[in-house]
Amino acid sequence: MAKGKVEIRIESCKSCGYCVKFCPKGVLAIGENVNQKGYQYVVAENPDDCIGCAQCGQVCPDAAIEVYREA
């Protein structure tokens, strides 16, 4: 079971890739679908590996990610 969980605000993502680069667990990936602004938004490709470290949320310039962790 995953120790953490991310919630991605699809419309805020601009596909910069920072969260993908800095996730220590390889959870995130640039997805194939685009949002209303035309950006290929990020998806949690391997959600079970998420540890809830919040690194993705911290580096996201567009505040597109909120993070939960096992209490």
Binding site: G4, E11, C16, G17, C60, P61, E66, R69
Partner: protein, 251 residues
């Protein structure tokens, strides 16, 4: 399994708004950090921003606090008036390198020299963004811009200007730190620098200056990830990180 929310979108930016900044632009990151710090201090309603002219203007409606768009370069002069009249507010200027270090150099230096009790958030990405990628005072030697198509040459354009070091020559400033947002550790450090500056301001200590080395992927002509490498390989050797002054530690 109960999950606890450990990272929340700050109340300092509008709930459902998408910023106008380019993909990967760290203006977004810094706007967010200012809001996070104010949230954590319980001062989100006390923030007043005096913003320069430039891409930061895209942030004016993105932040949830009051904001004055100042004449180009004059944010430190405006912030002086705002803070003196609203001493209980948390006042900060938000300025880019063209605004703060070129057009507004006089206002910046004189406010620092008076030890005005507000915080300067200085975004150094080595270029004019909004106006189309012209050379800024902070542009690196050899760096191409629309006004230095062959790269900046010292003989013709002078050298990159180090604002934190220059301000560190003055007696009055209380706190000066240079950070970057190029990686998660840098983002966390930037946040704690803003926190420190706001705490000192709240305690009436005087002028606090946080220079943040960021990227401008659009005008650098790089994708956001390559621009992170450019920060680390090119910008940081010219603009070394660290606390230049912390009078709070001396007291």
């Amino acid at each position: 399994m109960a999950m606890e929310k450990v990272y929340t979108r700050t109340t300092g930016i509008v709930k459902d708004m998408v910023s106008g900044f380019c993909p990967g632009c760290m203006h977004g990151t810094v706007h967010k950090l200012i809001g996070e710090v104010a949230d954590e201090m319980g001062r989100a309603n006390d923030l007043i921003r005096a913003e320069g002219i430039g891409c930061c203007g895209l942030g004016q409606k993105y932040v949830t606090h009051d904001s004055a768009i100042c004449l180009h370069g004059r944010a430190c002069a405006a912030a002086t008036g705002i803070k003196r009249n609203e001493p209980d507010s948390l006042v900060y200027t938000y300025q880019g390198d063209g605004d703060l270090a070129s057009i507004g150099l006089g206002e910046t230096m004189l406010a620092a020299n008076r030890g005005e009790n507000f915080t300067v958030i200085f975004i150094n990405n080595g270029i004019y963004g909004m106006t189309g990628g012209q050379m800024a005072p902070t542009t690196l030697l050899g760096m191409k811009s629309t006004t230095t198509p062959n790269g900046r040459i010292a003989e013709e354009h002078g050298y990159p200007i180090h604002m934190s070091e220059i301000i560190n020559q003055l007696t009055a400033p209380y706190y000066i730190e240079r950070t970057t947002c190029a990686d998660p550790a840098g983002v966390r450090k930037t946040k704690s620098a803003i926190r420190k500056a706001f705490e000192y301001q709240a305690a009436g200590k005087g002028f606090t200056f946080v220079e943040i080395v960021t990227s401008c992927p659009t005008n650098w002509g790089l994708d956001p990830i390559s621009a992170l490498d450019f920060i680390k390989e090119k910008m940081l050797p010219e603009y070394p990180l660290g606390v230049l002054r912390d009078k709070g530690k001396e007291e």
